[in-house]
């Protein structure tokens, strides 16, 4: 095991504290001065079904996850089966020996299809599908297996009165950290930082940490020694939280939502941070208390309608949703378009169509985001690929919405939403807030849709000016008109703003080119694939394979010239996306005429990893036109 590049999975039943275990691991390693990144995977279920947490720890910033993993911690009898192929020679499995006799067919929480696939695998391996036998098989291929009786260790430590199931998450996490060589006091700090205010819980869990470390010592199974690095203050946030933070820094004042996975956690997080104190000027002691109004609407139609109309009072407003909710918002999106209303919609993609894979990843809503709503209207569509980008993009979304007076769709995905990132503080001085153009005169009659050179009319607000808005085609005042000339002029006015946006938005917000800019192999991708691709590129480079990566950030207005420029001279263009139809490649073709000729796609709802991108690119270079990535449990 490499000392400073560790992939760890902790698996157990949904509702069994996997989330806290994840936090303990990430926080402990952060306190120890390491970098980490982790992802939660779970079913659309509250209690019982398999869930797991995959984290990678390094000295350098972590951008992706990787298989095979170094360590698997199984809190139940299902995890050893589900993740049997995630480990390899040299990996470690820590498992609860109380489940030793669990047979595959006894795992009732497992879906029948998964059971069937696993049964077939066991048949071909000629291994009995029982945890015990599985562990023998793992040993036979060089995996180190560490059985731990969770029940015994917990009751020996805390007595009979505490339910062992409540502590197995910390125990599993502690054993793994003890084996990885993290000092016990740091693991305890990690525990304290997760369970913070609950004194008894912290104390109990600290006892569990001690027991775990003693157990590992007594068996002499420590596999690593980590040199604790310098601690510095960091923030641990999910992608949902990053967007929430970005929105608040960017001046969000009114957010609406209807609960849906994986978007709702953003609004839920905001509800916990909706009243606070802030200084209005630099070097100004004067603090004021202020708030953000967050409304749980009766449905997504209402949510977007409220956000749209709220923006017409001068507030920065936003909504957040996912596929099914976004489908309901389509009509209102066009309303914001024709009425030139600055509204921000954060779209967390999940597996579709319909309810699809509600808790799994996808990038299949790109074309819908670009086209949702009837009729022609301008919109800005941006996409983020990690937590830091998400923070700044949330601010930019507001700036664009107000500057160009149109709806902005900020695309995220499930992997981004549910990953844990450890980031530095974003200084408020780095957040630039740019707002609308206001009318220059208070005395002239106000024309909400005044024709101007740029197509951008001075913004007016309810409570300030008198004007009208209508979903019908309208004149400059905002009254209904079906006059053909005015219709043409209004259509052109609205669409012209996209050209202005195209000119003004800086290149780095349109796309980034990584790697070897002149390489003949070009990769195009977007969103959460950024990290795994960057990591895979380094591996390829080490082998002498040069690549360039055109990472797309702005999809509307589409930066055709810039994309064409970035792809110039490429012999092989590989599109990597989490959807079936290679949507970004279709967009590139539509706007630049460039044919992407190789495809690496994934639509099983699971995250893309460094190793599978690496492997898939190799397959493409060996002549395959299309690779479907299938990893992930």
């Amino acid at each position: 095991m490499s000392k400073t590049d560790i992939d760890l999975i902790i698996g157990g039943p949904q509702g069994g504290g996997i989330d806290s275990a994840a936090q303990v691991v990430i926080r402990s390693f952060t306190i120890a001065g390491f970098e980490s990144y982790g992802l939660r995977e779970y079913h659309s279920n509250i209690k019982g079904r398999h869930s797991y947490f995959h984290v990678r720890i390094k000295e350098e910033p972590v951008r992706s996850l990787r298989y095979p993993i170094d360590m698997l911690v199984c809190l139940d009898g299902e995890t050893p089966f589900v993740h049997m192929d995630d480990v390899t020679e040299g990996s470690i499995i820590v498992y609860d020996s109380d489940f030793e006799n669990t047979k595959l067919e006894q795992v009732v929480t497992m879906e029948p299809e998964t059971q069937k696939h696993l049964r077939e695998k066991f048949q071909s391996l000629k291994v009995e599908p029982v945890v015990k036998n599985l562990m023998e098989y793992q040993k036979s291929r060089g995996v180190k297996v560490v059985p731990v009786s969770f029940r015994k260790l917990i009751t020996d430590t805390l007595g009979q009165n505490k339910p062992p199931a409540r502590y197995s998450n910390t125990l599993g996490a502690s054993i793994s950290m003890a084996m990885l060589g993290l000092p016990a006091d740091i693991t305890k700090s990690g525990i304290a930082s997760v369970f913070g205010r609950k004194k008894e819980v912290v104390e109990d869990n600290e006892k569990i940490v001690d027991a775990a470390y003693k157990y590992v010592d007594s068996l002499g199974i420590k596999v690593n020694k980590l040199n604790v690095r310098e601690y510095r203050e960091r923030f641990m946030v999910t992608g949902n939280e990053a967007v929430g933070i970005g929105k608040v820094l960017g001046g969000l004042k009114f957010q609406t939502y209807y609960p849906i996975t994986p978007a709702a956690d953003e609004s839920f997080f905001l509800e916990g941070h909706d009243y606070f104190e802030e200084a209005i000027e630099n070097q100004n002691e004067q603090l004021r208390k202020t708030g953000v109004v967050i409304v749980q609407a009766e449905d997504e139609i209402s949510a977007i309608a409220m956000a749209i109309s709220g923006a017409m009072t001068g507030a920065r407003t936003a909504t957040a949703t996912s596929g099914p909710g976004f489908s309901l918002m389509a009509e209102a999106l066009g309303y914001a378009g024709i009425n030139e209303i600055p509204v921000v919609l954060t779209l967390y993609q999940r597996g579709g169509p319909s309810t699809g894979l509600p808790t799994r990843n996808s990038q299949a809503d790109l074309l819908f985001a670009l086209n949702a709503g009837h009729g022609d209207f301008p919109r800005i569509v941006i996409s983020s690929g990690d937590a830091e980008e998400a923070i700044f993009d949330a601010v930019k979304a507001f700036n664009y919405a107000e500057r160009y007076q149109m709806p902005v769709i900020h695309i995220m995905d499930k992997v981004l939403a549910n990953s844990f990132y450890v980031i530095d503080k974003v200084d408020s001085s780095k957040i630039k807030i740019q707002r609308w153009i206001l009318p220059t005169s208070d005395t002239d009659e106000y024309l909400r849709f005044k024709f101007t050179e740029t197509g951008i009319s001075p913004m007016g607000f309810f409570g300030k000016q008198i004007f009208w808005l209508t979903g019908d085609e309208h004149n400059e005042l905002g009254h209904i008109t079906e006059d053909p000339e005015t219709r043409d002029a209004m259509m052109e006015k609205r669409m012209k703003k996209l050209e202005i946006a195209s000119k003004e938005i800086p290149l780095e917000d349109k796309l980034l080119v990584f790697g070897d800019k002149g390489a003949e192999i070009a990769i195009v991708s977007w969103g959460s694939n950024k990290g795994p691709i960057l990591d895979a590129m380094e591996k390829l480079k080490a082998e002498g394979i040069k690549t360039r990566f055109v990472y797309l950030r702005l999809f509307s207005p589409f930066p055709s010239k810039e994309v064409a420029e970035a792809l110039k001279g490429a012999k092989i263009i590989i599109d990597i996306e989490n959807n079936y139809s290679a949507q970004a490649a279709l967009v590139i073709k539509e706007y630049t005429g460039i044919n992407v000729n190789k495809f690496i796609l994934k639509y099983n709802g699971r995250h893309v990893t460094e190793d599978e991108v690496y492997k898939s690119i190799k397959e493409v270079l060996n002549g395959k036109d299309k690779v479907v990535m299938t990893s992930g449990a």
């Binding site: 409220m306 001085s429 957040i431």
Partner: protein
């Protein structure tokens, strides 16, 4: 000079349409209420009735079919200091927008809903609306209506509206008085505004209403107002209103059915967590410093996200 509440547009309703009366009543009520003209916003959905905002010289937002309530809610909650009035058809508010109509009762945002009740979908040429009784055959229908009708007053009461009234489009002065009372009411007010549609509804005509309507406030005994914040008083007034709402046919009551100002508005509920909400509402709250940088500070607001040693 007094503000002119009429715009100079030609009003494009059919001659004899009840909406003319409602429009006049609104214009008079706004003049009499006397807020700053910029502080009014009229919100509508889609339908004949939904054109109302264009004819009133205050800000207007003509929105989507069925969605006037959420649009109005967004405006009022972003700037609780505005006076918001909503116009919607019976199809708009009670069919496609019925979910919002129910949610609005539970929120009690301080605005006024004027329900243009004409029994039909005017703008789509006379299909049955949710208030048209089963068995009725208006002239736009191929055969008698096979849906049961709903009772807007009883529905509003049952989902928590705190001001429920009925008015009649062709008694402008009375309708104006009811609208004014609704605007002054603290909480969501709904007015079931009986609106003849001479083009498509040949049953509920002006003559039909003129023969049946009577005024609740002419009855000295009638007291629709909840006088004390006590359960028993609320229940008595509520049941009285429900009972009254069942009267339809030969005699149709018009006036205020129920009013309860003891229910906190949604804005007051927000204020519980956000004490200076009315003084520093979303609409006008400062978000950037003079140099354009953010006022909000990550370390201060999101300190719980810091990984501390």
């Amino acid at each position: 000079m007094a503000h002119n509440f009429k715009t100079d547009l030609w009003v494009d309703w059919c001659p004899g349409c009840g909406d003319f009366g409602i429009l006049a009543a609104i214009q008079q009520a706004l003049a009499e209420y006397n807020a700053k003209p910029e502080n009014y916003v009229i919100v509508s959905g889609i339908g004949c009735s939904a054109k109302t905002p264009h004819y009133v010289n205050v800000s207007g937002i003509h929105t989507l079919h069925g969605r006037a309530i959420p649009f109005a809610t967004g405006i009022k909650l972003s700037n609780p200091n505005l006076t918001v009035i909503l116009d919607g058809g019976d199809g708009d508010l009670l069919s496609i927008g019925a979910g919002h109509f129910v949610a609005a009762g539970r929120r009690n945002v301080d605005f006024t809903i004027i329900l243009h009740n004409n029994g039909v979908y005017g703008l789509t040429k006379g299909q049955a609306s949710p208030t048209l009784p089963r068995g009725t055959k208006t002239k736009g229908l191929q055969r008698p209506n096979i849906y049961d009708s709903l009772n807007p007053i009883a529905l509003a009461l049952s989902v928590g509206y705190t001001f429920v009234a009925r008015a009649y489009a062709f008694n402008i002065r009375h309708a104006k008085d009811i609208i004014l009372r609704a605007i002054k009411h603290k909480g969501t007010a709904v007015i079931d505004l009986l609106q003849p549609c001479p083009t498509y509804n040949d049953i509920n005509t002006k003559e039909w209403y003129d023969q049946r309507i009577y005024y609740l406030d002419q009855d000295k005994e009638w007291d629709p107002i909840v006088r004390k914040p006590e359960e028993e008083e609320v229940e008595r007034k509520y049941l009285q209103a429900i009972n009254k709402s069942l009267e339809w046919g030969d005699k149709i009551p018009v006036g205020v059915f129920y009013q309860n100002e003891f229910v906190p508005t949604y804005e007051e509920r927000i204020k519980q967590n956000f004490p200076n909400y009315f003084e520093d509402p979303p609409a006008t709250s400062q978000i950037s410093k003079k140099d354009g940088s953010a006022v909000a500070d990550m370390e201060n607001i999101f300190k719980d996200k810091i990984v501390r040693k």
